[in-house]
């Protein structure tokens, strides 16, 4: 199957993030990080390491957002990014459902193991609760 392509050019996203041009949801981040700086640092590091293999889908929900499934500390996380006003707008939280990426399925918060026979929730899987 042909790999899906993100809407936002990854090099541009990485360059903006590396310059600190990030805008994060504090309300959501504070549920999963001990403080604000940890959330920002994790988002920055995660974007720096991002590849198109982790891309899952593009959502159109007021913005055009690219969704990636990434591993942080061994668990699957949901990363949604868009670009606005020359800043990368980021939402980052643990996956609640498995997500299908170009590299395959990535598991939800229970941890786990990725599996191709789990139901794919890619399209809109977490979109109802994400900015």
């Amino acid at each position: 199957m042909k790999a899906k392509k993100p809407h936002w050019e990854l090099d541009r996203v990485k360059a903006l993030a590396a310059q600190g041009k990030l805008f994060l949801t504090k309300t959501k981040a504070q549920r999963f990080f001990p403080d604000a700086a940890s959330a920002v640092a994790t988002a920055k590091a995660t974007i720096a390491d991002l590849s198109e293999r982790q891309f899952a889908e593009t959502l159109h929900q007021g913005d055009v957002c690219d969704v990636y499934g990434v591993r942080i500390g061994g668990a699957g996380w949901y990363l949604k990014i868009t670009i606005d006003d020359l800043r990368v707008v980021v939402s980052l939280h643990p996956l609640q459902r498995p997500l299908r990426t170009n590299a395959g399925m990535i598991g939800g918060a229970s941890g786990g193991a990725s599996s191709a026979d789990k139901p794919a929730q890619g399209a809109g899987g977490d979109s109802d609760e994400m900015p």
Binding site: G20, K26, R87, P131
Partner: protein
Amino acid sequence: MKCHSCHQGTVVPLAKPGRTAPYKTIPNLPVPADLVIPTCDHCGEEWMTPEDAARIDAAMEAVYREELLARLRAVLPEPRDAGRVERDLGLSRGYLSRLRKGGRPPSEVLLAVLALVREDQGNLRKVERFWQMGIPYPDNEIGAE
């Protein structure tokens, strides 16, 4: 900037009393009334840039340290019990007394253990039983009376 959460509001600088937020170990730490946080004027979602994050953490850390000190005062053992607690937790003699007088909060781990001991002296006996046991020990052995 528009709000990317509700797509209806605008994110504006906002400082107001009555807010709380999770910070480190405390799920509902009071947010200083004068702390400006970018907030959506429609849905209330809070946002931050890296610069905002540093500023927010600095303000929250000051509140957090005061909160830890207040909790420390609430859970320190009575002076007559301090020596036993220090011995069981591997603290130097007089450490708890110095904590009582000093203005620096202890680690969250120590504070949590002191809280458990303060709540129930039986927890200190469990700690003592843990140190007395050999390894390996049964899972249910520590709590056995």
